[in-house]
Symmetry: C2
Subunit: 293 residues, 2 copies
């Protein structure tokens, strides 16, 4: 299991390296910043979910990898912009200076823009051949909806609006469903759509993605309280400093752990219609809940 | 001619209003900022070019309008981000406070992101029906390439890099070809592709777009020297203050006027293979060169 995930990770990193090869017209500085943002580590959770979801429904890895690269670029775009001084003002990410610290603010803004744009270009381009057209467009629509004002970007707006305010548990769950959950869920669904999955299979992936996204976010909040910078690669205690609504601040650490475990179990359960084809996805769900970074 | 362009403009504005209707999940503030950025006037040059290019090749207006809305959203995204303090730091745009002044920086960054994302979602969604899939993907690829690191975003990077430095005429033309020309050209080509144009027709539109984009940029530079804020809706003299490379600073005003007239003539000439179907596009080229705002 571990080796299969490690070899997938290598394939994803290789794909990202190729997608970000640049061309003679790209100014070197922005290409360098985009590569720095994407190629500097990270868990590769979203592309892993996309590939494993597609493979669970019979898709071929080589057909799924470009879209996997695209969702990691979308994720990187969101991190680069979230870290900007006007937003979360973070200086450390994945154990290194953030893009605006290492380069400058203008370059960080434009590199983020370029990554989002390249993600859609990639989704439209591969796999080549007219037989893929309908599926590629479905993937673009699902991911676009997950990223936009009613998805990740909307969640970031809410997150900023609630800084320093008392958020209810409903507010908190809404923020996270949009900010983190929407893209994670869309990765699972997009992988399934690219593989030509049927309705029941796509619904199973959708349910899995929703539950996994929640478990992931709760664990993230717990790590922000308990982790060290060396473990989590970013500044710990940041949420409390920014007076962000988090699961530990609303529920306490112990109850947050229980919620995370319950969501993980729900994610695994949602995979039942896929039978043993969902085993690797179940393994990923379990590793998300027990991760230390 | 004038009435036909005015009625097209109305149709474009109506399309943008509908595309930016939002949904119950969108936080009101980001929707408001995105609408403010897009619906507050502007020449609508890019969507006009997309629709007229498509119509010249037999496309139907209703099939072209969603993509027209998408390219205007791409243009608005680029203005919102270019105006940010870390980039051009502009306080006035289309005669009103820029988005980060009217709202705040975080909202401006996220609203720009949302507009770019919504543009691609729109391109993938309409016109509906599997018969459109191949053409929609072609339009996404062409526009994605025009926006990215080797297009508009790359041009913005170069523009910032050359601030205060001596740019050669080759540098200047490269900056503008990427920063303004690439998207304008892609609008013409995308309209033609959506209409199912043949190779020779698409090449005519490509040549037209390139020449028009250059004429447009030269006129823009001249207006920055000669216009008033009331005329041009943004702060005049900004280029000189930022020590930007411009056509007037390199060639002088008179020679810049001659270059603009020559490019306009080249744009009109490129339309020759389309015969009278290119008349409206030719009219747009002439109005671009003589515009006062």
């Amino acid at each position: 299991m571990k080796e299969r995930l490690a070899s997938l990770r290598e394939a994803i990193d290789g794909t990202l390296d190729r997608l970000l090869a640049g061309d003679p017209l790209s100014p070197p500085r922005i290409l360098e910043a985009a590569r720095y943002a994407v190629l500097g580590g990270g868990k590769r959770l979203r592309p892993t979910l996309l590939v494993l979801s597609g493979e669970a429904l019979g898709g071929r890895r080589e057909d799924l990898l470009p879209a996997a690269g695209a969702v990691e670029m979308i994720h990187a775009f969101s991190l680069v912009h979230d870290d900007l001084p006007a937003l979360d003002d973070d200086a450390l990410r994945r154990g290194r200076p953030t893009v605006h610290v290492r380069f400058d603010e203008a370059t960080a803004i434009l590199a983020g823009d370029a990554l989002l744009n390249l993600a859609f270009e990639t989704l439209a381009r591969w796999p080549e051949g007219n037989g893929w057209s309908r599926r590629k467009l479905e993937a673009i629509r699902i991911l676009g909806a997950a990223v936009g004002m009613s998805g990740m970007i909307g969640g970031q707006v809410l997150d900023l609006e609630f800084e320093g305010k008392d958020a209810s548990t409903e507010d908190l769950e809404r923020i996270h469903r949009l900010k983190t959950g929407a893209l994670i869920t869309a990765c699972c669904v997009a992988g399934g759509l690219l593989a030509g999955g049927g309705r029941a299979e796509i619904e199973a992936l959708d349910g899995y993605g929703r539950a996994l996204g929640l478990a992931f976010q709760i664990t993230d909040d717990i790590l922000d309280v308990e982790g060290t910078a060396g473990q989590i690669g970013k500044s710990p205690g940041k949420d409390a400093k920014d007076a962000k609504a988090t699961f530990p601040s609303l529920y306490g650490i112990e109850e947050s752990r229980r919620l995370s475990a319950r969501s993980t179990a729900a994610a695994v359960e949602a995979l039942a219609p896929l039978g043993p084809r969902g085993d690797l996805l179940a393994e990923v769900a379990r590793s998300v809940a027990t991760r230390r970074n």
